[in-house]
């Protein structure tokens, strides 16, 4: 049996980036994936004449051809060629009016709303628009964006070094870095004097990180926001399956091996360290080092013997909170977006404008929180002429499926999808139901099936106040179960998001390559 330098477990975004980076550096690399295609969340599926994007809302970090962002650079480094399509809006936030809201008004769709904010790309344009909606918010918004530039640079510094080195570099150049890191979005925006109503609009993207304004650190949020607002986000031309196949190709071209339908069923230990893996219960493969994109919780329960893992690792896994789970309804529509009356790519419909109240509401499927995306707004011909595709997403924290039996599940899916469709129809005063040609409904078990994560979360652990980005980054090596077995993906320091997963995969690979070069 051939022994590899590195075995990468799981071909999600993190695992793909790790395997591409290792194989390009000349390490003999084997990437193992239990599913039959790469990507995890980054994939696509076909129903009838529609090909659906399963998870990607928008990709920041691509930048522009003149000024490529970190993710575009990373794809360049991996020699993975993807056709990016830019889109030139950010989001629209619609909060249907609550009874008794004296500030509510009838919007352009004829709906009574508390908030209707359609926000443009660009710091100046965004701040002006925010000021138009909430007078007196311009200065604080511009100030926040200025800080976001600094925080983005700090992020780049962090990317250059290994854990502590990167942080020290960031500290050196950014005097405010530590201040923002140890404070929440809310504390930061209050300090800048941003009116509450403007904060609510400013915080719309909190759900992309799965942690509300009273929890999430200001510094990280600003860096994330910078990626979306400064230049606008992008999408891959042919769904995110294109991104995954582009990296798959890069791995093969650089001599790496990829085995699909090849699930790691146990880790083989030697002298107290991982030395190999068993694949599909029957085939053994060995390596010096391992990078693991699979969810730590199930890796501990499924792959290791009880006495093989350091107790610290078990306590750590048990102490952390599983992040948000998603529910998505994919709709192939037999009408165009114009005929349906949809004018925006990304509309966030929220039961309350406050992110913490949104978070609290998301204990079940019926919170009234729903993001509706229409990919045709970015890629007009992503469906055949005369049609369009919609993508409705809501989120849940905890376990809304406790008492659901397999025989009740199909009806539950239909009920949840119907509720989300109703939510969108009402909030936007449009008609969706009669025009559904294809429908697919994904609840947490669907994501669990494809991602194999706790409650199907694509987000890893919740980025709570005590378990936030910078402490995670500093303590990354401490967090790993063995020095030759490094985790990557959403469970690691940056949390969820395509860019974050690619980043952690590349970082784990760089640490692995360094260890090889140093002969460890």
């Amino acid at each position: 049996m051939k022994k590899y330098d590195v075995i990468v477990i799981g071909a999600g975004n993190g695992g793909l980036a790790a395997a591409a980076t290792c194989s390009k550096a000349g390490l003999s690399t084997l990437l193992l994936e239990r599913h039959n295609i790469p990507g995890g969340s980054a994939s696509s599926f076909v129903r009838g004449r529609f090909e659906f994007e399963p998870s990607l809302h928008e990709l920041c970090g691509i930048g522009t051809p003149e000024s490529p962002g970190p993710l575009d650079i990373q794809f360049g480094n991996m020699e993975a060629k993807v056709n990016w399509v830019k889109h030139n809006s950010t989001f629209r936030l619609v909060v249907p009016a609550k009874e008794g809201d004296k500030d509510s008004f009838i919007n352009e769709d004829g709906v009574r709303v508390s908030v209707d904010a359609r926000m443009p790309v660009g710091f100046e344009a965004f701040s002006r628009k925010l000021d138009e909606i909430v007078p007196g918010s311009y200065d604080s918004c511009m100030k926040a964006f200025e800080l976001s530039e600094e925080m983005t640079k700090a992020f780049e510094c962090m990317g250059e070094g290994d854990n502590m080195g990167g942080i020290f570099k960031a500290l050196k150049y950014m005097p405010d870095f530590m201040r923002l890191t140890s404070h929440t979005i809310k504390e930061g925006l209050d300090t800048l004097g941003m009116p509450k109503k403007a904060q609510d609009i400013f915080n719309t993207y909190w759900c992309y990180m799965g942690s509300p304004a009273s929890q999430f650190d200001f510094q990280y949020y600003l860096a994330v926001l910078n990626g979306y607002i400064k230049n606008g986000a992008s999408m891959p031309r042919n769904r995110s399956h294109e991104m995954s196949l582009a990296i798959d190709k890069s791995i093969r071209d650089n001599g790496g091996d990829i085995w699909y339908n090849s699930e790691v069923t146990s880790v083989i230990m030697k002298d107290g360290r991982p030395a190999g893996v068993k694949v599909n219960g029957n085939k053994e493969v060995f390596a010096d080092r391992f990078i693991c994109n699979a969810s730590p919780k199930f890796v501990l329960s499924d792959l290791f013997g009880k006495d093989d893992i350091p107790e610290k690792q078990i306590r750590m896994t048990n102490a952390r909170k599983t992040a948000v789970s998603l529910t998505t309804v994919y709709l192939g529509m037999n009408k165009t977006k114009e005929e349906l009356g949809i004018k925006d790519y990304s509309i966030f419909i929220a039961p309350d404008s406050d992110s913490d109240k949104q978070y609290e509401a998301c204990g079940d499927f019926y919170s009234g929180f729903c993001i509706i995306n229409c990919l045709n707004e970015v890629i007009p011909d992503c469906t055949p002429p005369g049609t369009s595709q919609l993508f409705l997403t809501t989120m849940t924290f905890g376990d809304p499926l406790k008492d659901v039996k397999p025989q009740d599940y199909k009806k539950l899916k239909t009920k949840v999808a119907g509720f989300l469709i109703d939510t969108c129809e009402k909030a936007l005063n449009i008609s969706i139901r009669p025009y559904i040609e294809e429908i697919e409904i994904a609840l947490p078990p669907t994501f669990s099936r494809y991602l194999n994560t706790p409650m199907g979360t694509p987000y890893g652990y919740m980025l709570e106040k005590w378990d936030s980005l910078i402490p995670r980054t500093i303590q990354y090596m401490q967090d790993q179960p063995f020095d030759n077995f490094l985790f990557c993906g959403a469970s690691q320091e940056r949390g969820d998001g395509y860019g974050c997963a690619y980043y952690t995969g590349e970082k784990a690979a760089k640490l692995t390559i360094k260890a090889f070069r140093e002969g460890k």
Binding site: S44, S182, T191, R252, S325, T414
Partner: protein, 402 residues
């Protein structure tokens, strides 16, 4: 003026590192449970394999039998995966040295799966390797290996009309028997009008069962459409001839609010395509079960000329590479199977993507009407071997069979 941000203390940062470690120390030392409600549901509904045993065989006609399959607990299947009416199971069988697989719609009801059995109904197909094998070899006690319930041929109330005109031909009746039972059991809620085409009364499958369902449940109507039966031998209420647009309209609601579901042999799909076009209903209301395996690619209008009869395929699965030869009129999947190589398969109709593979070199022919690949697959040379036919020697990379 100093930035207001300076008023935020930077000193708050340092304790964060220690705090995080203390929080970790407070976690339980027990290995986390390898399950939760989402994982349990996913595992219950989508097992990788189900190991079953034949418990009972029912003769449906001279060349058709139903097999009741129950869990083979000795092999580790405790419970059957629940399913939505209309789904199929892929049966895996070794016939001689050939690892075969075929998709069969489940003819029993979802409720039956909770009671502990699935029923598959198999009709003999001329030259059909699997149907002949099953009908000749399966006996009570035979061990059977099947997939999880799969496919998308199901009723969906958010998409489909309240009345479904189900067009069945031959053994294409099976998913509709399951649906009719589900309607009767209250697991589905729609009006089911079944137009069932057969040659003559002797060829009608599930005749008594359908009659009983129609009697028992007001939402079900069954109409037999007989092509080769003399006028005087026509049973009461049956229609003579074939299923046509006019016949569909005759039994459809007057307001035109109905869906059409079709399941039958390939010739029936081709014939009905022209008929359903005449109905004047929107495309979304016409749904067809999978096409089935396509044979004789050279009969397709756009099939290229000068294709060599014999081709070589070099196939890599995990760390094993083999070169085999085959006939270019067979799909890549069939060539591999005939050489004793098992490949992942489910629908064998191009649709499900379960056999998704990488074409490293060489050219294949993929009939347009069954090319359900993703857009990026086309750019990156990925194929579905079940509906790809070699035009040259090939080098391919295929996932393992799990």
């Amino acid at each position: 003026m100093a930035s207001p941000i300076k008023s935020l203390s930077a000193r708050k940062f340092l304790p964060m590192l220690g705090n995080r470690q203390s929080r970790f120390k407070s976690g339980s030392p027990e290995v986390p449970e390898g399950t939760d409600s989402a994982r349990a549901l996913a595992a219950a509904l989508h097992p990788v394999r189900q190991y079953l045993k034949v418990a009972e065989i029912i003769e449906r006609s001279a060349d058709c039998k139903s097999f009741r399959l129950v869990p083979d607990t000795e092999k580790g299947t405790e419970k059957l995966a629940y399913f939505g009416a209309g789904k199929y199971l892929t049966v895996f069988e070794n016939v001689g040295s050939i690892p075969l697989s075929r998709a069969y719609s489940i003819s029993s009801s979802p409720k039956n799966s909770l009671e502990g059995f699935y029923e598959l109904t198999v009709k003999r197909v001329d030259g059909g390797l699997m149907s002949n094998h099953i009908l000749s070899n399966w006996a009570v006690g035979t061990c059977v290996e099947v997939s999880a319930p799969s496919g998308n041929f199901e009723y969906q109330p958010l998409r489909d009309a309240g009345t479904v005109i189900c067009l069945a031909g031959g053994s294409g009746i099976t998913p509709f028997v399951s649906m009719a039972n589900a309607v009767c059991d209250g697991d589905e809620d729609f009006n089911l009008v079944l137009l069932y085409g057969s040659r003559d009364p002797a060829n009608i499958l599930f005749k008594d069962e359908l009659e009983a369902l129609e009697k028992k449940c007001g939402k079900i109507k069954v109409v037999h459409v007989l092509s080769d039966t003399a006028e005087e031998e026509m049973p009461a209420g049956a229609e003579k001839g074939f299923i046509t647009a006019d016949l569909i309209k005759k039994y459809a609601p007057d307001n035109g609010d109905y869906s059409v579901f079709i399941c039958g042999p390939q010739q029936m799909y081709e014939f009905l395509e022209k008929e359903t076009d005449k109905l004047g209903i929107e495309r979304k209301f016409i749904r067809r079960e999978m096409f089935g395996e396509l044979h004789n690619p050279s009969s397709q209008a756009d099939y290229p000329s000068d294709v060599p009869e014999e081709v070589k395929i070099t196939v890599t699965i995990q760390d094993e590479t083999r070169t085999v030869t085959g006939n270019s009129c067979d799909s890549v999947m069939q060539i591999l199977e005939k050489n004793g190589i098992a490949v992942p398969s489910r629908c064998r109709s191009g649709e499900c993507g379960f056999c998704h593979s990488h074409l490293i070199s060489g050219e294949v022919y993929i009939p347009k009407q069954i090319d359900y690949r993703r857009l990026a697959d086309k750019d990156f040379g990925c194929i579905h071997p079940c509906c790809s036919f070699p035009l040259t020697d090939l080098e391919i990379n295929v996932p393992a069979v799990r």
